[in-house]
């Protein structure tokens, strides 16, 4: 690229000037070129669908004919006036909490165990990732069988030991716990591995000096591991939030009884499932579905901003303490 500068005298002035221009472009432009694949991909699979969905949400869109008449914000008004939308919002948040909180606590515990000196480390590390590579659809099918009301394994076991059967497919909280269980099954190991990576990066001498100072295993975990793990924890929490708010496969496949997924009284109707119901089973109300998608996007942005604010605070606290 820059080899021409080795033999400047052999070149005509004009030629040199051109190669200089080239190398100036090289310095100025190539960094953008190197990072461009991400932005080009993002523009195609992220930004364009986002804007296009926003466009569709303003129309009475016919997906087959790719046309529709302008509706203004009518689709948004319709969505916000639906009780099902607010139920879906409630379910999305409660399923998210039911899955994210236990998931992070268990993942932390697993990561801490994997971080200690145990035999066959790689075996255990690969082991916790196993559920992650199972197809979500397969997970949903297996778990919805386990959680069947009358002939499911879990209710059979419960009644065998004399406990009452739980309405996994009828009651709000049990059905959401069942769905959260599927999510946890799939994501706990994955998060544990990310947290483990964070733990491995903590300087070991911190632990050594703490041990010399007489700190026990638990004291070291809470006073060194957790504070040092903050950036990783924040990353895990943010990705879990975004993933949790978009949960679809599990609730969609939890009950195959009706065409309109989410439960007869919307016990486990999440926002994405609601979006799918409106777009695909109400004779192609794509405009309304697009409006739901945008509202979901705004919700994620708001929660993302809250996350960011908390992250900043934590970062500032760290800076102050380090000073």
């Amino acid at each position: 690229m820059t080899t021409t500068t080795l033999r400047p005298t052999e070149r005509s002035p004009r030629r040199i000037a051109f190669s200089q221009t080239l190398s100036r472009w090289d310095i100025k432009l190539s960094p953008y070129l190197y990072i461009s694949p991400f932005f080009i991909l993002f523009a195609i699979v992220g930004l364009f669908p986002l804007i296009y969905t926003g466009y569709i949400s303003l129309l009475d869109w016919d997906p087959i004919r790719h046309s529709g008449k302008f509706m203004g914000l009518d689709n948004f008004a319709w969505v916000l006036g639906q009780t099902q939308f607010w139920l879906a919002l409630r379910n999305t948040i409660s399923i998210f909490l039911l899955s994210a909180v236990p998931q992070l606590i268990i993942a932390l515990a697993i990561a801490a165990v994997l971080d200690s000196n145990i035999r066959a480390k790689t075996f255990w590390r690969m082991g916790v990732l196993l559920p992650y590579i199972v197809m979500p659809v397969a997970v949903a099918l297996i778990f919805s069988k386990l959680f069947s009301n009358d002939y499911g394994l879990i209710n059979t076991l419960l009644s065998d030991i004399g406990l009452p059967k739980v309405g996994w497919h009828t009651d709000v909280i049990p059905s959401q716990i069942a769905i959260a269980t599927m999510v946890n099954f799939r994501w706990t190991g994955y998060n544990a591995l990310i947290l483990l990576a964070g733990m491995q990066a903590i300087p070991r001498d911190l632990y050594e000096s703490a041990a010399i100072d007489g700190a026990g295993r638990f004291r070291r975990f809470f006073s060194i591991t957790i504070p040092q793990l903050r950036p990783t924890l924040i990353f895990v929490i943010i990705t879990a939030t975004i993933g949790g708010l978009q949960i679809f496969d599990e609730p969609q496949l939890f009950d195959s009884s009706s065409t309109v997924a989410g439960g007869a009284s919307q016990q486990w109707l999440t926002l994405t499932v609601y979006l799918h119901n409106v777009g695909w089973y109400q004779n192609g109300k794509y405009g309304r579905a697009a409006a739901i998608a945008w509202l979901l996007f705004l919700l994620i942005v708001v929660i993302g901003l809250i996350n960011l604010a908390i992250t900043r605070r934590i970062a500032n606290n760290d800076a102050r303490r380090n000073r």
């Binding site: 991909l41 009706s258 065409t259 009284s265």
Partner: protein
């Protein structure tokens, strides 16, 4: 101890793989005739009874044509697939199966499908089946099967309650209107303490298919919320279900298990349900079919085959569809999967009238379902909102069966849900 080691986080880019259906390599204007090698794809769902042997017969007649069948699990999956790829403008099979319940939605786009009318298939169907496949004067769908309904029952359970064992005895005991069917159920539950039918939702389907205009008028206006027939059916089914139902919603895992465990004694049985029952309770030996249905007859389901214009070999696909929906081929499918022919000529064919089903204790399914088809007097109108309205009503029935709402509260919510569709 090792020094601190930075772990580098690797960003994983997920690549979405697009499954493209190979449609051969011939130019677009192909007629499929002569000796040009082509592959035709056929998209169906559930079990249409198009066995490999049946499809091989076509290849034997047309050595240049290879048939590949893509089977979706449920009618809903097929619906999502069809509309997604119709919107994309590519990716559909050369021949696509469409369920009668969502055929009205497809008919809005009749210009995207090939006109299949020909001398071969003129007069092949009853008027209502032809009307179901016709849009804007074009015959875009050739009928495959229909779903005339009978009653399936477990002989062991019914004989224990003194309601008969043979199909004739059972039919005599439950013949009449819906009240007669429920009354026999009361006798059964009084004697055994067990459930008579599977769910209010499934039973409601039987009633809904006995009205010309149940949810919508012929011009598509939604009348579900003010039609007294809907409310009456909703209340009468739920009244019966409080004592007679096993409360097992259709297509759930519990429903399938209940079929195998004998947790209900009878169920409404459109012809295609035979394959479902056999699939869900393969070890049960006592299922049988009574040649009877409350209030005469009813048709539940039935499908069409369509040829999308986006296919590469539309002429060859049209020829293949015509062959596949001919009476002889449909009789073969009926023997495989119980999909009862919609083709009139099939009803006099000894191959159909003589058909029996081993799983259902050698029930003469050919004559039973031919009788049931003859008993169908009403052709329900199903418009573009039929599926969504039925979904709202089914949810309402389920809420009551699960004990979450009273009948009145549930009906109030059904009305609100249907109005929200508008």
């Amino acid at each position: 101890m090792s020094t601190s080691r930075r772990t580098i986080a690797a960003a994983v880019a997920g690549a979405a793989a697009l499954a493209l259906i190979a449609t051969g390599c011939a130019p677009a204007a192909s007629t499929g005739g002569d000796d040009e090698k082509i592959t035709l794809t056929l998209g169906t769902f559930n079990n249409f009874g198009y066995s490999d042997e049946l499809l091989a017969e076509y290849t034997a007649l047309h050595p240049n044509v290879t048939i590949k069948q893509n089977i979706a699990k449920t009618s809903d999956d097929a619906q999502t697939n069809l509309f997604t790829k119709l919107a994309a403008g590519s990716g559909l099979s050369d021949v696509e199966a469409v369920d009668g319940d969502w055929m009205p939605k497809v008919k809005q786009y009749s210009d995207l499908f090939v006109d299949l009318a020909s001398d071969d298939n003129a007069g092949r169907y009853s008027d209502w089946k032809t009307a179901g496949g016709t849009a804007d004067g074009k015959l875009i769908g050739l009928g495959t099967d229909i779903g005339p309904e009978a009653i399936c029952y477990r002989a062991d359970l019914l004989s224990a309650a003194g309601l008969g064992t043979t199909p004739d005895e059972v039919a005599a005991n439950i013949a009449g209107d819906w009240d007669a069917y429920y009354a026999a159920g009361e006798k059964y539950t009084a004697a055994t303490g067990k459930a008579w039918f599977d769910s209010a939702g499934a039973t409601f389907q039987g009633l809904a298919n006995q009205y010309q205009n149940f949810y919508e008028k012929d011009d598509g206006t939604v009348i579900a919320t003010e039609n007294p027939d809907v409310k009456a059916a909703f209340e009468s089914v739920l009244g019966a279900s409080s004592t007679l139902s096993a409360h097992l919603q259709e297509w759930t895992d519990d429903w399938a298990a209940g079929m195998a465990n004998g947790s209900f004694a009878t169920m409404l049985c459109p012809a295609w349900m035979l394959g479902v029952i056999q699939g869900d309770s393969p070890d049960a030996t006592d299922w049988n079919i009574a040649n009877v249905f409350p209030d005469g007859g009813g048709n539940w389901g039935g499908s069409y085959l369509l040829v999308p214009t986006q296919g590469k070999h539309t002429e060859a696909a049209k020829e293949f569809t015509d062959w596949l929906t001919a009476p002889e081929q449909q009789i073969s499918a009926f023997k495989t999967a119980g999909t009862f022919p919609s083709q009139i000529a099939a009803y006099d064919d000894p191959a159909l009238t003589g058909a029996t089903n081993e799983f259902f204790n050698d029930a003469p399914i050919g004559t039973i379902f031919a009788d049931r088809a003859n008993a169908v007097t009403v052709t329900p109108f199903k418009g573009i909102n039929y599926g969504a309205i039925m979904g709202a009503v089914q949810n309402g029935l389920t809420r009551v069966e699960q004990g979450q709402q009273s009948v009145d509260d549930s009906w109030t919510q059904v009305i609100a849900d249907i109005k929200a569709l508008g």
